[in-house]
């Protein structure tokens, strides 16, 4: 199977301090890959580097055969990588609908946009109900749905989700897992999921990476990795 994304030995610095070093990671086409790790491990930094938000000092990021290091976020989005960031970063004073429209900023295929909108309203009926409401007045769960939905509106080939479960009730996290699966299975979108909630992460993922203090410390199929030391220590209290 071919990889849609191959990250090779990337290093990111914030000023003089190294945030992540020699991180390598692959996402196979059409799969869900998860990245777990304690606070400050460098998960968000890895995703930001991928999205062109922070500069990569070393290494390469190869997406469908093209090098991404040095490209602008706009070019990266256009190529099909979309990041749903930690903290959502919605446009709080704009309606749900306008937030979704903005997700499709770089698209010109009106019919495709309309189809995706219908898919989203189908996946998250709450968003359809509340399409005229300002994003900032949605509940936390609805805001997360909107953040993901806005990401889908860009018609990504690879969707990166940074801690989508943060602050959500268990039952909502359950639904979130189903939605992620749906996006992956029915739309064929490859997914890179960063999560603290290992139950969600291991529930949906095909493959898993574990990070600790800026380095990749373990990887493997979900069944094997949950029993490795690094992950046990980080999440299951040893």
């Amino acid at each position: 199977m071919s990889n849609i994304l191959e990250i090779k030995d990337i290093t990111v610095m914030y000023g003089k301090s190294v945030a992540i070093h020699d991180i390598s990671l692959n996402v196979p086409e059409g799969k869900i890959v998860t990245m777990v790790g304690a606070n400050g491990a460098g998960k968000s930094t890895t995703l930001k580097a991928l999205a062109g938000i922070v500069p990569v000092t070393q290494g390469s990021i190869c997406f469908r055969g093209e090098e991404l290091v040095g490209q602008s976020t706009q070019e990266i989005v256009r190529k099909g990588i979309v990041l749903v960031p930690e903290g959502r970063h919605l446009f709080p004073h704009l309606s749900v609908y306008k937030n979704l429209q903005l997700g499709a900023t770089l698209r010109t295929d009106k019919i495709g946009i309309q189809e995706d909108l219908e898919y989203i309203y189908d996946l998250f009926p709450k968003l359809k109900e509340r399409r005229k409401q300002k994003a900032g007045t949605l509940s936390g769960g609805e805001q997360q749905m909107l953040a993901i939905a806005r990401g889908i509106m860009a018609s990504p080939k690879l969707l990166c989700l940074d801690e989508p479960s943060l602050g959500l009730a268990p039952v909502v996290i359950e639904q979130l897992g189903q939605s992620i699966n749906d996006i992956n299975k029915t739309r064929g979108v490859s997914i890179l999921l960063v999560e603290q909630n290992v139950h969600l992460a291991f529930g949906v993922a095909d493959y898993c990476y574990a990070m600790s203090v800026g380095a990749m410390v373990a990887q493997g199929d979900v069944d094997c990795i949950s029993s490795t030391d690094a992950v046990r220590k980080a999440y299951f209290g040893g």
Binding site: A51, I53, S72, T73, Q74, V77, R78, V82, L83, P85, R88, H89, L90, F91, P92, H93, L94, K98, Q101, L102, G103, T105, L106, R150, A154
Partner: protein, 288 residues
């Protein structure tokens, strides 16, 4: 002294001044929201556009309509330059933005003073005569100023609320990282909006230069109005500016009639200060 017969005139002046204030303030507000920058030179840009209009029409014999358009295009270009070399360069550096703003203001004002010397300049009227509506006679100059202002205002509202560029501008104002992640080219959107904002101020300057005459301090007067309008409206409010603009226009039309001399302007400012004391964050919510 105030008499009820003056009321129609006061209301007409309110409309003219209000629309001009709003038009000039829009660019300032766009820049404020999107680039978190206070453009202290905005009033000076408005002033220099009026001078540009006057000199283009005088030196090249162009009609003042043509001169107005050329002046607006020049100021749009100035907007592009300011975005590139001021707002982008000093993004998030409050002190530098203020200093550069004051420097530009001083340079433009000095230039205008040198150019005009002690003469009082007036852009020749865009329209002459007057129109009688009901029992009131309104000068065509005022009608035209109001009409053009209103059209541009509606166009601006359309731009912000209905077009992709306007939506992207709001996105950048509300969440820069979020905007970047949608693939929005923040620099490009900022540059375009800056250009449009400066061009709007330019047109207001060209119109007011005929209505009230030119002076190198007309920018200061306008700057004060801009700051008051935007503060009263509250950060991020466009609808608010529409209303505070009319209120400000009304105060500036009413007070000169009932109060003598400079006290009129002081009274208007005093009222605004009181209003700001009541509601320091402005009267309207975020919607831009």
């Amino acid at each position: 002294m105030f008499s009820i017969n003056l009321m129609p005139n006061i209301l007409i002046n309110t409309c003219v001044l209000g629309v001009m204030y709003i038009l000039t303030s829009l660019g300032f507000a766009f820049i404020f929201n999107m680039l978190s920058s206070i453009n202290l030179a905005h009033g000076a840009l408005y002033m220099i556009a009026a001078y540009a209009c006057y000199y283009i029409s005088m030196l090249f014999g162009a009609s003042n309509w043509v001169a107005m358009i050329i002046s607006a295009v020049i100021l749009a270009a100035v907007g592009l330059v300011l975005e590139r070399f001021m707002f982008r360069l000093f993004f998030n550096d409050f002190d530098k933005i203020i200093m550069v703003g004051v420097a530009i203001m001083t340079i433009l004002q000095t230039a205008a003073t040198i150019a005009s010397g002690t003469k009082t300049l007036v852009i020749t009227s865009y329209a002459t005569g007057s129109t009688i509506i009901g029992k009131i006679s309104i000068s065509n100059e005022k009608l035209l100023t109001f009409g053009i202002g209103l059209v541009l205002l509606l166009a601006s509202l359309y731009l912000v609320n209905r077009t992709a560029l306007g939506r992207q501008m709001q996105a950048v104002s509300q969440d820069r990282l979020g905007a970047a992640l949608q693939g929005i080219n923040i620099n490009k959107v900022s540059a375009l909006i800056c250009a449009i904002g400066c061009a709007l101020a330019a047109i207001a300057g060209c119109l007011m230069g005929a209505y009230q005459g030119l002076s190198s301090t007309m920018g200061d007067t306008m700057n004060l109005r801009i700051l008051m309008l935007v503060m009263l409206a509250g950060a991020g409010s466009m609808n608010g500016i529409l209303i505070t603009g009319i209120v400000m226009g009304f105060l500036d039309s009413l007070f000169p009639v009932i109060i003598q001399g400079n006290a009129a302007s002081a009274a208007a400012i005093a009222i605004v200060v009181v209003l700001l004391l009541i509601k320091p964050k402005g009267f309207f919510g975020h919607e831009m």
